[in-house]
Every structure is written in C-alpha cells, then in structure tokens.
C-alpha cells in the first residue's frame, strides 16, 4: 500500500526519510500535495504493507493512504 506521510517541519520530513531507511523502507521526498495541506513543506511517499503503527514517530503529523489519486487519512497526531 502507498502512503504519504506529512511531518510538522521540513526538517522532520528529512529526518523521517532516514528513519524509514533505518527500517529498510524506501521513502521518497516530495512536495506536500496541495489538496492535503496549505503547507509548502515536504512529505514522504512510501510503499508499505505492515502495521501502520510502525510508521508513527514524533515527526509524523498525518499519514494518508493513497489509492488511485484518492487520499484517505489513516493517522493524525494529537494537537
């Protein structure tokens, strides 16, 4: 399954990409899709089939599942 992960900061997105690499998951940096946020920051796109909880850390603001150009919110950090 494809996911788009939005971070709180652009630095957080870069850090998150390294976190994924540490877990053996390839994450690709891309601009945050406009329909998801007004932020001009960076998001991470990845392909993953395991437990979503393994993708969550302090840098994650939101996780969307991407399916044929449709985004479904799967996780949102509190506050």
């Amino acid at each position: 399954m494809e996911y788009i992960v939005l971070s709180f900061t652009q630095g957080g997105a870069i850090r998150y990409q390294r976190f994924l690499a540490f877990m053996g998951i390839k994450g690709k940096l891309q601009p945050v899709p406009r329909k998801l946020s007004s932020s001009c920051g960076i998001a991470v796109r990845l392909c993953y089939h395991g437990d979503l909880k393994m993708l969550i850390n302090d840098d994650v603001e939101r996780i969307y599942q991407l399916d044929e150009n449709v985004y479904t919110l799967k996780y949102q950090a509190e506050n």
């Binding site: 709180f8 900061t9 652009q10 630095g11 957080g12 870069i14 850090r15 940096l29 891309q30 601009p31 899709p33 406009r34 329909k35 946020s37 007004s38 932020s39 001009c40 920051g41 960076i42 302090d58 840098d59 603001e61 150009n69 449709v70 506050n79």
Partner: protein, 355 residues
Amino acid sequence: MKESFFDSKRGIVFTGAVVGILAVLLVQSENLLNTNFCIACFMDDLAGTLGLYKVTAAQYFQLEIIGVVFGAFLMALYRQEFSTQGRASLLVCFVLGFLVMVGILMFLGCPLQMILRLGSGDLNALWGLAGLVTGIIIGLFFLKKGFSLKRNYRLPKLKKLSFFFVMLGTLILLLIRPIFIYFSEQELDLLQPVIWLSLVVGIVIGLLAQRTRLCLVGGIRNLFLCKDASLFLGFLSIFIFAALTNLILETYNWGFSEQPLAHQDSLWNFLGMVLVGWGSILWGGCPLRQLVLFGEGDIDAVITFLGMLAGSVVAHYFMLASSTAGPTFNGKIAVIISLVVLFFIAYSNTEDLKI
C-alpha cells in the same frame, strides 16, 4: 479524481503571471516614492510609519502588506485552512527574521523583488540569484544533517473574526491618521485610486499565493531536494511575465548601471542574498510566504514579521542599509556578523552536528 486548476502546475504558473504583471503595473502606476514591489521594503516603510525610526522619505503605509495578509486570510478561511499554530522556538524565528532583513537591506530587495529586478533587465540581480541559491544550498546541508526548529502546536483558536477586525482596524488607522502614524512629507492623497489599487493588488496576490502556496525559496528547495519543479514554475512565471510586461511598457533596461534602487557591488549583492537564502530556508519560506502564513494564523510568521521589523529599525539607526551608491561599511560588518550568527543557529539546532 481530476486535479483542480490551482492544485496543478497551471495554477502556479497562472499565479506567477498575475504577480509578475500586477507588480510591474503597480510600480509603474504608483511612481510615488520610487519604490518597488518588495515585501521586505514594504515592512521597512511600515516601521517608519509606526515611528520606529525617523527617515521621512520612507514613511508610507504600504497597503500591499495589509492586502497580502488579508487576501491570504480570506482564502484560508474559505478553504478552512485558517489555524493558529506556533512552534516552541519563537526566539529563533524572531532572530531569523532580523538576520534576513539585514541581508535584504544589503541587496536592496527580497527574493520577490530580486525576480522583478531580473524581469526589468537589472543584471545586478543575477548576483543576488546566485547568492540566494547558494544560501539555500547551505541551508539544505543543515536540513539534511537534521536541522529542525521543532514541531508546531495548535494554539487555542483565535476568534477568526478578531483577526479580521485587527486588519480592518489597521486600515481605519490609515484613514484616520492619528498622531502616532507618520507619513512622509510628500503629498499623499489617500483618496487617490492608485493607493487603493495597491490594496486590491495585495489582496489578489494574497488570495492566489495562499491558494497555490507560491514560495520562491521553497521552489528552489524542491528542485534540489525532491527534483520537483512545480513550485519553481511560479518563480519562473513571475520572471517571464514581469519581463514581458516591462518590454511592452518599454521600461525594460538591460544592464548593470542606472538601475533603480540597486547597487553594482556584486560581492555584497551575493553575500546579502546568501544570508537571505540561508535564513529563509531554515525558517521555511521567503518573506512573501511569511506574510501568507501570517494570514493563515501562523504565529511563527507573526514573530518572524516582528523580527524583520526590528531588523529594519536597527538597520536604519546603525546605517546598515545599502543605497544606490553601494553598501555601507556598517552593513558589510552586519552581514558578516549575521552569517556567523546564522551558522551558530543552524549548528546548534542540527542533530548530527552536535557534539
């Protein structure tokens, strides 16, 4: 699901075209204080209007700033994207705003003004562009090493109407012109249509910039970081359409000399914009983007705005700002000190570089 126009590359190109054309037309129609369309310079004039320094030629309440913030606010409200949020490192945001202003006043223009100068044929701005890109690359080095200003938190919601009334109140102050609002001694009739045209242009730019996330620094960042050119297209579009408008109006002046509000000292044009690019990439956007974020309720952007105001005040009192004759000695020292301070800010907030 089909992508909407403003979510697409066509939307950002359209926005860039509108900004480029309107900015040139506004400057040509205003011809008031020999000003250019520069967000940071507008802030500089605002500081003068508030009496924070006394340089009578630079006391003019730029309605463009109010317009951009208001336009961004309206679009954010409409799209339900208005949200008050802020980070834990507000002091750093303030200092970054201050340092970026020092760089802007060395070059005599923010990144938007730099593109507009390029679009008018001012080749001195090429040094600025080189500096901006260099500064962004330096900032990206720190980002890749783990630089972060910490995450943002949603704050108790400001009543949205109160935000609207603050801006409306600011406009009313302009009309009433109380004793604590200073204006230049040049005759400025506030009922002139061109004055209100600047407000309308600001609103249009704010609406579009919020809708498309136009960000000049972000565009260059994405080119290097994500190999994505979509945001950069806005940057390019502003340049192309500003150039075309200048050519049609016969205001295109190709060369280094006799450029309005510019100096020819290439080294300091370069270094000034290194400071701007580096600082802007660390705080996450150019001055125009900060105004838009201000309109969206981002408290960091408000603090950054205040930092830029403070920077302009200090720059005037200590003669840091350049002129068409070139940079001042104090300005050169300030840029060097600012680069050192910026290095320490970047270093101390970068995980992988901490001992």
